[in-house]
């Protein structure tokens, strides 16, 4: 079952934006005050730059970046050729190695964050709509199992906080429902930009569980389940979070 079961009392899905303070929301609302746009700008430069052995830029195949509207709303997606779920970062690096003959972009580097923020921005405002039919359903179900698995020294599952206790306070902040609609995000605590992987890692380390590896197939499954769970919420990339 992929359909998200929301807790009693939560009438509607709430993005992390809705649970953030007014100052944080104001930063996200204004593209000139949202520091993530510094990365978007770098992504735009990279989009047009010819790289690698093939001497091709992203634009040479894909055209203007506006053509990518809707793409981020469909990701992560099941890749039948690989038999696994591929997120946007992994797809970008596939393009680089297979089509551009270029070096992999380092994860959490400015270039990767910039290009994923740029592509994500093109889908801003569109509803999250990942495909969880056919072979993808198995992966989403596996992601949901992980979401509901109690783990770590604190013996907590994602669901316990983000389904059952969402909206309540954890220390000084409100627990969000955990809809990953704004990634990559500019996070004030990080004083910088980060991917969903970085956020999930911080959560897993927080409950003192073993974090997932970046290339772990289960990470894709979890990201797919999260996107299915957030279906219908608007893409906010690049979001700002406290």
């Amino acid at each position: 079952m992929v359909a998200a079961v929301l807790p009693v009392g939560a009438q509607e899905k709430r993005s992390g934006y809705d649970d953030a303070g007014p100052q944080v929301r104001a930063m996200q609302d204004d593209d000139l005050a949202n520091p993530a746009f510094l990365w978007v700008q770098q992504g735009a430069a990279l989009w047009a730059r010819r790289e690698g052995a093939a001497g091709k830029s992203c634009a040479d195949c894909h055209g203007a970046v506006e053509m990518m509207r809707g793409v981020a709303a469909r990701y992560p997606a099941h890749d039948p050729a690989r038999g696994r779920v591929v997120n946007l970062e992994q797809r970008v690096n596939q393009c680089r190695t297979e089509r551009q003959g270029a070096a992999l972009l380092p994860p959490e580097g400015d270039a990767m964050l910039g290009i994923t923020a740029l592509v994500g921005l093109q889908s801003r405002g569109l509803p999250v709509a990942v495909d969880v039919s056919g072979p993808a359903s198995v992966h989403a179900a596996r992601g949901e199992d992980f979401f509901r698995l109690r783990q770590g020294q604190l013996n907590l599952s994602c669901a316990q906080c983000h389904d059952q206790l969402a909206g309540q306070a954890l220390a000084g902040s409100r627990i969000p429902q955990g809809h990953a609609t704004g990634y990559p995000i500019y996070r004030l605590e990080w004083q910088g930009m980060g991917s969903l992987f970085r956020r999930l890692r911080a959560c897993l380390v927080g409950v003192r569980a073993e974090p997932l590896g970046r290339d772990d197939a289960l990470l894709g499954d979890l990201e797919l389940y999260l996107a299915a769970r957030a279906a219908g919420l608007a893409v906010e990339t690049p979001g700002v979070r406290p």
Partner: protein, 106 residues
Amino acid sequence: MVRPLLNVPREVRAGVAFDVRILIQHPMETGLRRDAMGLVVPQDVINRFECAVDGQEVFSATLHPAISANPYLAFSAKLVRSGTMVLRWVDDHGVEASESVAITVV
């Protein structure tokens, strides 16, 4: 250095205040943190920011640690005649950067 996000109107009315907003990518390292090896990370903040139109200062600021990374500065200015606005800043490592915009008074 990555270019800042700068928002300045290209056309303004004489004597009417307008907003200048700039977001600069900078780590604003406080000098109070230690790295994984326990060594102090040297302070590196933008310590001076100046904005002038045709050589005449309209705004300046001395910045200190405890300002977040990627600082955002916003201020107002008034012009009576057209000119070139130059925004200039320098950090503790001596790295200087600037942006200039031609503004027309209409």
